[in-house]
Amino acid sequence: MITIHNVHKAFGRHQVLKGIHLTVQKGEVVTILGPSGSGKTTLLRCINYLERPDEGQVEFGGKTIDYKHPSKKDILFLRRHTAMVFQQYNLFSHKNVLGNVTEGLTVARKIPKREAEEIAMAQLERVGLADKAGHYPNQLSGGQKQRVGIARALAINPDVILFDEPTAALDPELVGEVLEVLLEIAETGVTMIVVTHEMEFARRVSDHVIFMDQGIIVEEGSPHQIFHQSREERTKKFLHRVSPAYLYQQV
Protein backbone atom coordinates (compact mmCIF):
# COMPACT_ATOMS: atom_id res chain seq x y z
CA MET A 1 0.00 0.00 0.00
CA ILE A 2 2.98 2.22 -0.42
CA THR A 3 4.60 2.50 -3.81
CA ILE A 4 7.51 4.66 -4.73
CA HIS A 5 8.39 5.42 -8.33
CA ASN A 6 11.55 6.49 -10.00
CA VAL A 7 13.42 7.92 -7.06
CA HIS A 8 16.71 9.63 -7.89
CA LYS A 9 19.04 11.23 -5.39
CA ALA A 10 22.49 12.70 -5.77
CA PHE A 11 24.79 14.14 -3.13
CA GLY A 12 26.82 16.69 -4.98
CA ARG A 13 28.15 14.85 -8.00
CA HIS A 14 27.70 11.41 -6.53
CA GLN A 15 24.51 9.75 -7.79
CA VAL A 16 23.32 7.65 -4.86
CA LEU A 17 19.90 6.51 -6.10
CA LYS A 18 19.42 5.90 -9.78
CA GLY A 19 15.75 5.29 -10.29
CA ILE A 20 14.19 3.11 -7.62
CA HIS A 21 10.76 1.47 -7.88
CA LEU A 22 9.39 -0.23 -4.85
CA THR A 23 6.03 -1.53 -3.74
CA VAL A 24 5.17 -2.71 -0.27
CA GLN A 25 1.89 -4.45 0.55
CA LYS A 26 0.05 -4.00 3.79
CA GLY A 27 1.37 -6.32 6.46
CA GLU A 28 4.49 -7.17 4.48
CA VAL A 29 7.96 -7.23 5.96
CA VAL A 30 10.43 -6.03 3.37
CA THR A 31 14.16 -6.23 3.98
CA ILE A 32 16.69 -4.24 2.02
CA LEU A 33 20.19 -5.65 1.81
CA GLY A 34 23.32 -4.43 0.16
CA PRO A 35 26.90 -3.35 0.62
CA SER A 36 27.65 0.02 2.22
CA GLY A 37 27.30 2.83 -0.25
CA SER A 38 24.55 1.00 -2.09
CA GLY A 39 22.06 3.70 -1.18
CA LYS A 40 19.78 1.59 0.97
CA THR A 41 19.78 3.95 3.95
CA THR A 42 19.32 6.94 1.65
CA LEU A 43 16.35 5.20 0.06
CA LEU A 44 14.76 4.61 3.42
CA ARG A 45 15.27 8.21 4.47
CA CYS A 46 13.80 9.41 1.18
CA ILE A 47 10.57 7.64 1.95
CA ASN A 48 9.77 9.89 4.88
CA TYR A 49 11.54 12.84 3.32
CA LEU A 50 14.43 13.06 5.74
CA GLU A 51 16.45 13.15 2.56
CA ARG A 52 15.07 15.13 -0.33
CA PRO A 53 14.93 13.10 -3.53
CA ASP A 54 15.77 14.93 -6.71
CA GLU A 55 13.02 13.08 -8.53
CA GLY A 56 10.31 10.56 -7.85
CA GLN A 57 6.79 10.06 -6.59
CA VAL A 58 5.20 8.14 -3.82
CA GLU A 59 1.69 6.69 -3.73
CA PHE A 60 0.54 6.38 -0.20
CA GLY A 61 -2.74 6.51 1.67
CA GLY A 62 -4.65 7.33 -1.44
CA LYS A 63 -2.46 10.29 -2.32
CA THR A 64 0.24 10.72 -4.89
CA ILE A 65 3.03 12.98 -3.75
CA ASP A 66 5.73 14.34 -6.00
CA TYR A 67 9.06 14.27 -4.18
CA LYS A 68 10.32 17.15 -6.23
CA HIS A 69 7.86 19.72 -4.95
CA PRO A 70 6.04 18.34 -1.99
CA SER A 71 3.81 20.70 -0.06
CA LYS A 72 4.28 21.10 3.69
CA LYS A 73 1.02 19.28 4.19
CA ASP A 74 2.23 16.37 2.07
CA ILE A 75 5.43 16.07 4.05
CA LEU A 76 3.59 16.12 7.36
CA PHE A 77 1.14 13.57 5.98
CA LEU A 78 4.03 11.27 5.08
CA ARG A 79 5.60 11.63 8.49
CA ARG A 80 2.40 11.26 10.45
CA HIS A 81 1.60 7.97 8.82
CA THR A 82 5.05 6.49 8.88
CA ALA A 83 7.54 6.02 11.67
CA MET A 84 11.26 5.48 11.77
CA VAL A 85 13.60 3.57 14.04
CA PHE A 86 17.16 4.88 13.83
CA GLN A 87 20.52 3.14 14.02
CA GLN A 88 21.65 5.61 16.68
CA TYR A 89 18.30 5.44 18.52
CA ASN A 90 17.96 9.25 18.56
CA LEU A 91 15.94 9.32 21.74
CA PHE A 92 15.13 12.78 23.11
CA SER A 93 17.73 12.98 25.85
CA HIS A 94 15.93 15.64 27.90
CA LYS A 95 12.73 13.59 28.19
CA ASN A 96 12.20 10.38 30.08
CA VAL A 97 11.17 7.15 28.39
CA LEU A 98 7.45 7.81 28.75
CA GLY A 99 7.91 11.34 27.46
CA ASN A 100 9.79 10.03 24.43
CA VAL A 101 6.98 7.70 23.50
CA THR A 102 4.15 10.17 24.09
CA GLU A 103 5.78 13.05 22.20
CA GLY A 104 4.51 11.89 18.85
CA LEU A 105 1.01 11.44 20.26
CA THR A 106 0.48 14.57 22.29
CA VAL A 107 2.31 17.05 20.12
CA ALA A 108 2.02 15.77 16.58
CA ARG A 109 -1.43 14.27 16.87
CA LYS A 110 -2.96 16.35 19.65
CA ILE A 111 -4.03 13.31 21.64
CA PRO A 112 -4.82 14.22 25.26
CA LYS A 113 -2.12 13.40 27.77
CA ARG A 114 -3.84 10.65 29.71
CA GLU A 115 -4.86 8.74 26.62
CA ALA A 116 -1.38 9.16 25.18
CA GLU A 117 0.20 7.79 28.35
CA GLU A 118 -2.04 4.73 28.23
CA ILE A 119 -1.07 4.03 24.66
CA ALA A 120 2.58 4.64 25.47
CA MET A 121 2.57 2.29 28.44
CA ALA A 122 0.93 -0.41 26.34
CA GLN A 123 3.70 -0.19 23.75
CA LEU A 124 6.38 -0.09 26.43
CA GLU A 125 4.89 -3.30 27.84
CA ARG A 126 5.07 -4.79 24.39
CA VAL A 127 8.80 -4.13 24.12
CA GLY A 128 9.34 -5.16 27.74
CA LEU A 129 10.27 -1.80 29.21
CA ALA A 130 7.18 -0.72 31.13
CA ASP A 131 9.19 -0.59 34.35
CA LYS A 132 11.62 1.94 32.87
CA ALA A 133 8.99 4.53 32.00
CA GLY A 134 10.42 7.11 34.36
CA HIS A 135 14.05 6.60 33.40
CA TYR A 136 16.07 8.85 31.15
CA PRO A 137 17.83 7.64 28.01
CA ASN A 138 21.29 7.98 29.47
CA GLN A 139 20.35 5.46 32.14
CA LEU A 140 19.56 2.78 29.59
CA SER A 141 21.65 0.27 27.70
CA GLY A 142 21.83 0.38 23.92
CA GLY A 143 19.36 -2.45 23.52
CA GLN A 144 16.92 -0.77 25.89
CA LYS A 145 17.25 2.53 24.07
CA GLN A 146 16.48 0.90 20.77
CA ARG A 147 13.44 -0.82 22.22
CA VAL A 148 12.18 2.54 23.45
CA GLY A 149 12.73 3.81 19.93
CA ILE A 150 10.60 0.97 18.63
CA ALA A 151 7.90 1.70 21.20
CA ARG A 152 7.97 5.33 20.14
CA ALA A 153 7.40 4.27 16.55
CA LEU A 154 4.66 1.79 17.43
CA ALA A 155 2.79 4.25 19.61
CA ILE A 156 1.82 6.49 16.74
CA ASN A 157 0.24 3.50 14.97
CA PRO A 158 1.82 4.17 11.61
CA ASP A 159 0.91 2.48 8.37
CA VAL A 160 4.52 1.46 7.86
CA ILE A 161 7.59 1.49 10.09
CA LEU A 162 11.00 2.20 8.59
CA PHE A 163 13.97 0.55 10.30
CA ASP A 164 17.41 1.98 9.55
CA GLU A 165 19.88 -0.76 10.54
CA PRO A 166 18.27 -1.06 13.97
CA THR A 167 20.89 -3.40 15.44
CA ALA A 168 24.04 -2.14 13.75
CA ALA A 169 25.17 0.04 16.69
CA LEU A 170 24.50 -2.53 19.37
CA ASP A 171 26.90 -4.74 21.27
CA PRO A 172 26.45 -8.33 20.06
CA GLU A 173 24.79 -9.57 23.25
CA LEU A 174 22.17 -6.83 23.03
CA VAL A 175 21.21 -7.53 19.44
CA GLY A 176 19.07 -10.48 20.45
CA GLU A 177 16.63 -8.56 22.61
CA VAL A 178 15.94 -6.10 19.81
CA LEU A 179 15.53 -8.78 17.16
CA GLU A 180 13.06 -10.57 19.43
CA VAL A 181 10.92 -7.46 19.53
CA LEU A 182 11.14 -7.09 15.77
CA LEU A 183 10.08 -10.70 15.29
CA GLU A 184 7.09 -10.22 17.53
CA ILE A 185 6.05 -7.07 15.74
CA ALA A 186 6.37 -8.74 12.37
CA GLU A 187 4.12 -11.54 13.51
CA THR A 188 1.39 -9.12 14.52
CA GLY A 189 1.13 -7.89 10.99
CA VAL A 190 2.86 -4.51 11.11
CA THR A 191 4.11 -3.32 7.74
CA MET A 192 7.88 -2.97 7.99
CA ILE A 193 10.67 -1.88 5.70
CA VAL A 194 13.97 -2.90 7.26
CA VAL A 195 17.49 -2.06 6.16
CA THR A 196 19.73 -4.54 7.93
CA HIS A 197 22.85 -6.65 7.93
CA GLU A 198 21.25 -9.38 9.99
CA MET A 199 21.02 -12.06 7.31
CA GLU A 200 19.33 -14.71 9.40
CA PHE A 201 16.69 -12.24 10.46
CA ALA A 202 16.14 -11.26 6.85
CA ARG A 203 15.94 -14.83 5.76
CA ARG A 204 13.44 -15.92 8.38
CA VAL A 205 11.23 -12.93 8.89
CA SER A 206 10.89 -11.16 5.55
CA ASP A 207 8.14 -11.65 3.06
CA HIS A 208 10.16 -9.87 0.42
CA VAL A 209 13.86 -9.20 0.08
CA ILE A 210 15.48 -6.50 -2.00
CA PHE A 211 19.15 -6.45 -2.87
CA MET A 212 20.61 -3.07 -3.79
CA ASP A 213 24.01 -2.15 -5.10
CA GLN A 214 25.34 1.18 -6.37
CA GLY A 215 22.03 2.94 -6.35
CA ILE A 216 19.83 0.42 -8.14
CA ILE A 217 17.77 -2.58 -7.16
CA VAL A 218 19.77 -5.50 -8.50
CA GLU A 219 17.39 -8.25 -7.57
CA GLU A 220 14.31 -8.81 -5.45
CA GLY A 221 12.15 -11.70 -4.49
CA SER A 222 11.15 -14.00 -1.70
CA PRO A 223 13.80 -14.84 0.88
CA HIS A 224 14.20 -18.27 -0.61
CA GLN A 225 14.72 -16.85 -4.08
CA ILE A 226 17.31 -14.35 -2.96
CA PHE A 227 19.25 -16.44 -0.50
CA HIS A 228 19.20 -19.76 -2.31
CA GLN A 229 18.35 -19.06 -5.91
CA SER A 230 19.86 -15.69 -6.69
CA ARG A 231 20.28 -15.08 -10.38
CA GLU A 232 22.55 -12.05 -10.41
CA GLU A 233 26.29 -12.36 -10.01
CA ARG A 234 26.46 -9.32 -7.73
CA THR A 235 23.87 -10.77 -5.37
CA LYS A 236 25.75 -14.02 -5.12
CA LYS A 237 29.03 -12.27 -4.47
CA PHE A 238 27.52 -10.14 -1.72
CA LEU A 239 25.85 -13.05 0.03
CA HIS A 240 28.99 -15.07 -0.23
CA ARG A 241 31.05 -12.29 1.31
CA VAL A 242 28.76 -11.77 4.30
CA SER A 243 28.53 -15.43 5.14
CA PRO A 244 30.90 -16.67 7.88
CA ALA A 245 32.41 -19.33 5.60
CA TYR A 246 33.98 -16.66 3.41
CA LEU A 247 36.39 -15.30 6.00
CA TYR A 248 37.78 -18.62 6.97
CA GLN A 249 37.82 -20.39 3.62
CA GLN A 250 41.59 -20.11 3.25
CA VAL A 251 42.08 -21.62 6.65
Binding site: N48, L50, L76, R79, R80, T82, A83, M84, F86, Q88, Y89, N90, L91, F92, S93, H94, E103, G104, V107, A108, R109, Y136, N138, Q139, G149, R152, A153, I156
Partner: protein
Protein backbone atom coordinates in the same frame (compact mmCIF):
# COMPACT_ATOMS: atom_id res chain seq x y z
CA UNK B 1 58.16 53.19 46.92
CA UNK B 2 55.61 55.52 48.39
CA UNK B 3 52.15 54.04 48.43
CA UNK B 4 49.50 55.72 50.53
CA UNK B 5 47.97 52.54 51.97
CA UNK B 6 45.35 54.29 54.11
CA UNK B 7 44.05 55.97 51.00
CA UNK B 8 43.57 52.66 49.29
CA UNK B 9 41.16 51.82 52.07
CA UNK B 10 39.42 55.21 51.79
CA UNK B 11 39.09 54.83 48.08
CA UNK B 12 37.85 51.28 48.53
CA UNK B 13 34.98 52.43 50.70
CA UNK B 14 34.22 55.24 48.30
CA UNK B 15 34.10 52.90 45.34
CA UNK B 16 31.95 50.33 47.08
CA UNK B 17 29.04 52.73 46.69
CA UNK B 18 29.32 52.29 42.93
CA UNK B 19 28.92 48.52 43.03
CA UNK B 20 25.10 48.45 42.86
CA UNK B 21 25.09 50.69 39.80
CA UNK B 22 27.78 48.58 38.18
CA UNK B 23 25.85 45.39 38.86
CA UNK B 24 22.75 47.02 37.40
CA UNK B 25 24.75 47.91 34.33
CA UNK B 26 25.81 44.29 34.08
CA UNK B 27 22.42 42.70 34.60
CA UNK B 28 20.22 44.92 32.45
CA UNK B 29 22.22 44.58 29.22
CA UNK B 30 22.49 40.83 29.74
CA UNK B 31 18.72 40.55 30.15
CA UNK B 32 17.96 42.69 27.12
CA UNK B 33 20.76 41.01 25.26
CA UNK B 34 19.22 37.62 25.94
CA UNK B 35 15.96 38.72 24.39
CA UNK B 36 17.88 40.00 21.39
CA UNK B 37 19.75 36.69 21.20
CA UNK B 38 16.50 34.73 21.15
CA UNK B 39 15.25 36.95 18.35
CA UNK B 40 18.42 36.44 16.35
CA UNK B 41 18.28 32.69 16.94
CA UNK B 42 14.64 32.57 15.86
CA UNK B 43 15.51 34.41 12.67
CA UNK B 44 18.43 32.09 11.96
CA UNK B 45 16.51 28.87 12.62
CA UNK B 46 13.62 29.87 10.42
CA UNK B 47 15.97 31.27 7.81
CA UNK B 48 13.90 34.41 7.27
CA UNK B 49 15.72 35.74 4.24
CA UNK B 50 16.50 39.43 4.67
CA UNK B 51 16.41 39.46 8.44
CA UNK B 52 18.85 36.55 8.64
CA UNK B 53 21.44 38.52 6.72
CA UNK B 54 20.85 41.53 8.96
CA UNK B 55 21.10 39.35 12.06
CA UNK B 56 24.35 37.87 10.81
CA UNK B 57 25.76 41.31 10.13
CA UNK B 58 24.67 42.53 13.55
CA UNK B 59 26.34 39.65 15.38
CA UNK B 60 29.46 39.91 13.26
CA UNK B 61 29.80 43.67 13.74
CA UNK B 62 29.16 43.76 17.45
CA UNK B 63 31.55 40.92 18.13
CA UNK B 64 34.34 42.26 15.98
CA UNK B 65 34.41 45.87 17.16
CA UNK B 66 35.42 47.28 20.56
CA UNK B 67 32.59 47.83 23.02
CA UNK B 68 33.65 51.41 23.61
CA UNK B 69 32.80 52.16 19.99
CA UNK B 70 29.36 50.65 20.49
CA UNK B 71 28.75 53.04 23.36
CA UNK B 72 30.01 56.04 21.40
CA UNK B 73 28.11 55.16 18.24
CA UNK B 74 24.84 54.76 20.11
CA UNK B 75 25.42 57.75 22.36
CA UNK B 76 26.23 60.06 19.45
CA UNK B 77 24.32 58.35 16.70
CA UNK B 78 20.84 57.93 18.13
CA UNK B 79 20.26 61.66 18.58
CA UNK B 80 21.31 62.19 14.96
CA UNK B 81 18.89 59.49 13.85
CA UNK B 82 16.13 61.00 15.96
CA UNK B 83 16.65 64.34 14.25
CA UNK B 84 16.86 62.86 10.78
CA UNK B 85 13.84 60.60 11.06
CA UNK B 86 11.93 62.56 13.62
CA UNK B 87 10.61 64.65 10.75
CA UNK B 88 9.01 61.60 9.17
CA UNK B 89 7.24 60.40 12.28
CA UNK B 90 6.70 63.74 13.84
CA UNK B 91 8.89 63.00 16.84
CA UNK B 92 10.73 66.10 17.83
CA UNK B 93 11.94 65.66 21.34
CA UNK B 94 15.31 66.87 22.38
CA UNK B 95 17.61 63.88 22.63
CA UNK B 96 19.85 65.85 24.97
CA UNK B 97 17.42 65.22 27.76
CA UNK B 98 18.05 61.47 27.69
CA UNK B 99 20.61 60.58 30.34
CA UNK B 100 23.88 59.00 29.21
CA UNK B 101 23.06 55.96 31.29
CA UNK B 102 20.21 54.98 28.97
CA UNK B 103 22.43 55.15 25.93
CA UNK B 104 25.07 53.08 27.70
CA UNK B 105 22.54 50.40 28.65
CA UNK B 106 21.18 50.36 25.11
CA UNK B 107 24.64 50.06 23.57
CA UNK B 108 25.77 47.38 26.01
CA UNK B 109 22.54 45.46 25.41
CA UNK B 110 23.40 45.30 21.74
CA UNK B 111 26.92 44.20 22.63
CA UNK B 112 25.66 41.52 24.99
CA UNK B 113 23.05 40.41 22.48
CA UNK B 114 25.69 39.61 19.89
CA UNK B 115 27.78 37.50 22.25
CA UNK B 116 24.75 35.77 23.71
CA UNK B 117 23.55 34.97 20.19
CA UNK B 118 26.76 33.10 19.57
CA UNK B 119 26.44 31.30 22.91
CA UNK B 120 22.94 30.13 22.00
CA UNK B 121 24.18 29.14 18.55
CA UNK B 122 26.93 26.96 19.98
CA UNK B 123 24.35 25.48 22.33
CA UNK B 124 22.19 24.55 19.37
CA UNK B 125 25.14 23.01 17.55
CA UNK B 126 25.77 20.86 20.59
CA UNK B 127 22.38 19.20 20.28
CA UNK B 128 22.49 15.89 18.43
CA UNK B 129 21.00 16.36 14.96
CA UNK B 130 19.68 12.83 15.18
CA UNK B 131 17.21 13.89 17.83
CA UNK B 132 15.86 16.59 15.56
CA UNK B 133 15.52 13.99 12.81
CA UNK B 134 13.62 11.71 15.14
CA UNK B 135 11.32 14.62 15.91
CA UNK B 136 10.63 15.20 12.24
CA UNK B 137 10.17 11.47 11.68
CA UNK B 138 7.32 11.22 14.17
CA UNK B 139 5.56 14.06 12.46
CA UNK B 140 6.53 17.12 14.45
CA UNK B 141 6.61 20.40 12.54
CA UNK B 142 9.78 22.43 12.28
CA UNK B 143 8.46 24.78 14.91
CA UNK B 144 7.67 21.95 17.29
CA UNK B 145 11.07 20.35 16.83
CA UNK B 146 12.76 23.64 17.65
CA UNK B 147 10.59 24.54 20.60
CA UNK B 148 10.37 21.13 22.22
CA UNK B 149 13.50 19.24 21.24
CA UNK B 150 16.28 21.60 20.22
CA UNK B 151 15.95 24.80 22.23
CA UNK B 152 15.48 23.29 25.68
CA UNK B 153 18.68 21.33 25.28
CA UNK B 154 20.51 24.16 23.53
CA UNK B 155 19.85 26.60 26.36
CA UNK B 156 20.94 23.99 28.87
CA UNK B 157 24.23 23.45 27.04
CA UNK B 158 24.72 27.21 26.66
CA UNK B 159 24.29 27.93 30.37
CA UNK B 160 28.01 27.74 31.30
CA UNK B 161 28.70 30.15 28.45
CA UNK B 162 26.04 32.52 29.73
CA UNK B 163 27.55 32.52 33.18
CA UNK B 164 31.00 33.25 31.73
CA UNK B 165 29.62 36.07 29.60
CA UNK B 166 27.94 37.53 32.66
CA UNK B 167 31.24 37.64 34.53
CA UNK B 168 33.02 39.12 31.54
CA UNK B 169 30.37 41.75 31.11
CA UNK B 170 30.92 42.94 34.64
CA UNK B 171 34.34 44.04 33.41
CA UNK B 172 32.97 45.55 30.23
CA UNK B 173 31.00 48.08 32.27
CA UNK B 174 34.30 49.79 33.07
CA UNK B 175 34.29 51.45 29.66
CA UNK B 176 31.29 53.50 30.73
CA UNK B 177 33.75 55.56 32.75
CA UNK B 178 34.80 57.17 29.47
CA UNK B 179 31.38 58.79 29.19
CA UNK B 180 31.41 59.85 32.83
CA UNK B 181 29.07 57.21 34.23
CA UNK B 182 29.88 56.87 37.94
CA UNK B 183 30.37 53.13 38.04
CA UNK B 184 33.39 51.63 39.77
CA UNK B 185 36.04 52.77 37.31
CA UNK B 186 34.34 56.11 36.81
CA UNK B 187 34.35 56.79 40.51
CA UNK B 188 37.96 55.62 40.73
CA UNK B 189 38.95 58.24 38.19
CA UNK B 190 37.15 60.87 40.23
CA UNK B 191 38.78 59.74 43.45
CA UNK B 192 42.16 59.63 41.76
CA UNK B 193 42.04 63.09 40.22
CA UNK B 194 40.43 64.77 43.20
CA UNK B 195 43.11 63.53 45.55
CA UNK B 196 46.08 63.18 43.21
CA UNK B 197 46.43 59.59 44.47
CA UNK B 198 46.20 57.74 41.21
CA UNK B 199 47.85 54.39 41.85
CA UNK B 200 46.06 53.92 45.15
CA UNK B 201 42.62 54.65 43.73
CA UNK B 202 43.08 52.26 40.85
CA UNK B 203 44.45 49.55 43.10
CA UNK B 204 41.28 49.91 45.18
CA UNK B 205 39.19 49.57 42.03
CA UNK B 206 41.17 46.49 40.99
CA UNK B 207 40.57 44.91 44.38
CA UNK B 208 36.82 45.44 44.16
CA UNK B 209 36.58 44.03 40.65
CA UNK B 210 38.78 41.10 41.58
CA UNK B 211 36.78 40.30 44.69
CA UNK B 212 33.42 40.40 42.97
CA UNK B 213 34.76 38.40 40.04
CA UNK B 214 35.94 35.70 42.43
CA UNK B 215 32.42 35.67 43.84
CA UNK B 216 30.99 35.22 40.35
CA UNK B 217 33.45 32.43 39.64
CA UNK B 218 32.37 30.64 42.79
CA UNK B 219 28.73 30.99 41.71
CA UNK B 220 29.69 29.72 38.26
CA UNK B 221 31.38 26.74 39.87
CA UNK B 222 28.23 25.97 41.87
CA UNK B 223 26.13 26.28 38.73
CA UNK B 224 28.45 23.89 36.91
CA UNK B 225 28.12 21.37 39.70
CA UNK B 226 24.35 21.64 39.73
CA UNK B 227 24.27 21.28 35.98
CA UNK B 228 26.46 18.17 36.05
CA UNK B 229 24.05 16.64 38.53
CA UNK B 230 21.15 17.41 36.27
CA UNK B 231 23.08 16.18 33.27
CA UNK B 232 23.29 12.82 34.95
CA UNK B 233 19.59 12.55 34.34
CA UNK B 234 19.53 14.16 30.96
CA UNK B 235 22.56 13.71 28.75
Amino acid sequence: MHIDYPFIWTAFKFLLAAVPLTLLMTILPILFGFIIALLVTYIRLYKIKVLAAAAGAYVSFFRSTPAILHVMLIYLGIPVLIIKFGHIFGIGFNANKIPVFIFVIAALSLTAGAYLSEAVRSGILAVDTGEAEAGYAIGLTHSQVIRRIVLPQALFYALPNFVNLFGGFFHTTSIASIVAVPEITGKAIIAASNNYEFLEAYIAAAIIYWGITILFEWLAHLTDQKLSQLKGGIT
